[in-house]
């Protein structure tokens, strides 16, 4: 067996994090903008007012730019599993490959096909047929996210699979269990609705820009109103669904929850404070200072007032017997692969549940071989492995808090914006309009930090409690990894620059530069004459 090079593992992790975070800058807008376009077009079909068609076409153009770059950055990631994470792909491919294949064959093809019809079908389809196409694009893009998140949920809570000692892989047992796992459900709804928030703030921010400059006022007022209402409900939903996901993590991934909360020792209900700010020290395994709100943590996590939450020190102690048992499992598995004797298989089966912890001990075994651990060194290896079960607490703790604080800010901003819009007092409140405009990138930032919380919190595992990350990477050379990492960083930075250039360009041009021009004065004059909604563009 090739020795594991920690530098290559770290570079592989860094490369995947980089590409995933770049890709995830585009994804939330795609998820949300499609349903916002569907909402605008629905109003157009219902009322017949052309301004809503102009809205759907203009915001659709911004969606198109984002969609194209999202696809370009997403495709490379699928190949990365094979190139940089070949051990993971071999071990978990049965579980992971199925939803990924369905994503490509069903959701992505559906989305891509109907995107073409959506952009080029305005004059070729009836209003109703075009509306159906827009809804199908929205459904397709969100179904695409669904399958990816089902695959990701399998990594976090690998339900519906068993380890086969003959093939040395996790084998698929139940498709239904995978799709309907509570983690997949919670992840999908939370992520999808976070995309709605991102899209709503983009539309609201660009509309605020027009209102501040006194341009496209009727267009901007309607876009702002729809986005504010879309955003406020979505923000309430994303916070609620985040709680669902947190509860799921509490049930299935206690180390992630303990790291998120900076909880080194088991909590003392009901007083235990929810830490607002702290400086977690991973090396010393303590927080340097804490500012917290008492009586909040226990009900927040457990949904009651009396259940203690296990701290990281206690979780480490609880892992010790599992590491010892896992070492027995790995040793028995190694023997079984050589002998194929029933006795070795039975020995493995007796400790199978702790196999992942045995893999985790590999790093501290002589020559990375747990079968070579002398009896007198076993406890030392177990003690060395114990801290490895924890994720990076500083990163997990702060990425979660940044996400949460931003979500609370969005709630306040959307609530005030929706109120002012409903009262027709937007233009008097330039401060709010400026806040909306400058807040456009923040939901993207929040989703990025949410993603970091989920992925960093799952460490040290790629498949939770089953396959450690350091055993999942391919055995590339360091120079290969540095070269490909630099290439990805350069290419994706160009993509981001292109996206920002095009977004700014088309946002500044505004809807009047669009194929179907609309003038505020013409619209106002028309309404003044007819006193009713003006006619459809068709």
């Amino acid at each position: 067996m090739d020795m594991i090079n920690p530098t290559v593992v770290d570079l592989s992790r860094f490369q995947f994090a980089l590409t995933a975070l770049y890709h995830f800058m585009f994804v939330p807008l795609t998820l949300g903008l499609t349903f916002m376009l569907a909402a605008m077009e629905t109003v157009y079909v219902v009322t017949g007012r052309k301004i809503y068609k102009d809205m759907a076409m203009f915001w659709g153009k911004l969606f198109g730019i984002n969609f194209a770059l999202g696809v370009a950055t997403g495709i490379t990631m699928e190949f990365e599993f094979g190139t940089n994470w070949s051990m993971y792909s071999r071990f978990f491919g049965d579980m992971f490959g199925t939803p990924l294949a369905i994503e490509g064959l069903m959701a992505f093809f559906m989305e891509s096909t109907f995107v073409g019809l959506m952009f080029f079908g305005w004059d070729r389809l009836s209003k109703q047929a075009h509306l159906a196409v827009t809804y199908l694009v929205a459904l397709g893009s969100n179904l695409s996210a669904l399958w990816i998140l089902i695959a990701n949920a399998g990594m976090n809570v690998p339900h519906g699979a068993h380890f086969d000692p003959d093939t040395m892989r996790l084998q698929f047992d139940s498709f239904v269990k995978l799709i309907f796992s509570p983690d997949a459900q919670a992840k999908f709804v939370h992520t999808s609705v976070a995309g709605y928030v991102s899209a709503a703030l983009l539309v609201m921010g660009v509309s605020a820009f027009y209102l501040l400059r006194g341009q496209h006022r009727q267009f901007a007022a309607r876009s702002f109103r729809m986005a504010a209402l879309f955003g406020i409900i979505s923000t309430v939903a994303v916070i609620t669904l985040g709680d669902v996901l947190g509860r799921e993590d509490y049930m299935e991934q206690p180390t992630k929850i303990a790291a998120i909360e900076g909880l080194w020792h088991t909590s003392k209900p009901p007083y235990e404070p929810w830490i607002l700010a702290a400086l977690p020290d991973d090396a010393k395994q303590e927080n340097h200072f804490e500012i917290g709100v008492p009586f909040v943590l226990t009900p927040l996590i457990t949904h009651d007032f009396n259940t203690p939450i296990r701290g990281m020190h206690e979780l480490e102690d609880a892992a010790a017997p599992r590491i010892e048992s896992g070492i027995v499992a790995v040793s028995a598995l190694r023997r079984y692969q050589e002998t194929h004797q029933q006795a070795d298989l039975d020995a493995f089966k007796a400790h199978e549940a702790d196999l992942g912890f045995g893999f985790l001990a590999t790093r501290h075994a002589p020559n990375q071989d747990v079968t070579a651990i002398p009896a007198d060194a076993l406890q030392s290896v177990v003690e060395q492995t114990k801290p490895d079960i924890l994720p990076n607490v500083f990163v997990t703790f702060w990425s979660f808090r940044i996400m949460v604080f931003l979500a609370l800010y969005f709630f306040a901003l959307f609530a005030i914006s929706a109120y002012l819009s409903l009262k027709n007092k937007l233009e008097r409140n330039k401060l709010i309009l400026k806040a909306c405009m400058w807040s456009i990138p923040l939901p993207i930032l929040a989703t990025e930090f949410g993603w970091i919380t989920a992925e960093a919190g799952r460490q040290p595992w790629t498949v939770f409690n089953t396959l450690p990350t350091f055993l999942s990477a391919s055995t590339h050379s360091t120079s290969y990894m540095v070269f490909s990492l630099a290439g990805f960083a350069l290419l994706y930075s160009i993509f981001i620059a292109a996206e920002l250039y095009l977004m700014f360009k088309f946002a500044r041009l505004g809807p009047e530069a669009h194929d179907a021009p609309h003038s505020d004065d013409a619209y106002a004059a028309h309404c003044a004459v007819v006193g009713t909604p003006h006619a459809s563009g068709h």
């Binding site: 349903f35 916002m36 569907a38 909402a39 605008m40 629905t42 109003v43 219902v46 009322t47 007012r49 809503y52 239904v176 799709i179 309907f180 509570p182 459900q185 919670a186 999908f188 709804v189 999808s192 609705v193 709605y196 209102l211 006022r217 009727q218 901007a220 007022a221 309607r222 702002f224 109103r225 729809m226 986005a227 504010a228 209402l229 879309f230 409900i233 979505s234 939903a237 669904l241 669902v244 929706a418 819009s421 409903l422 027709n424 007092k425 937007l426 233009e427 008097r428 004065d521 106002a524 004059a525 309404c527 003044a528 006193g531 009713t532 909604p533």
Partner: protein, 67 residues
């Protein structure tokens, strides 16, 4: 034609009910997402129509009204 349309709507209703029963039971959060997304779209659309109605009530007096 009317009968065909009625049959189509009835089929859609049956599919929706089956979807609601199955997904509501097996995947309650998926079901919540479907219902929630529809609600978000309808409320944001209603907000826009309300703005039209607010402006239609005032537009005769001024074309430069505040938004």
């Amino acid at each position: 034609m009317q009968l065909l349309r009625l049959a189509g709507l009835a089929a859609a209703l049956v599919v929706s009910l089956l979807f609601a029963v199955f997904v509501g039971d097996q995947g309650p959060w998926y079901f919540a997402w479907v219902i929630g997304t529809i609600m978000i779209i309808l409320i944001s659309g209603a907000g826009a129509i309300l703005l039209d109605a607010q402006q239609d009530g005032k537009i005769g007096s001024s074309s430069d009204q505040e938004v």
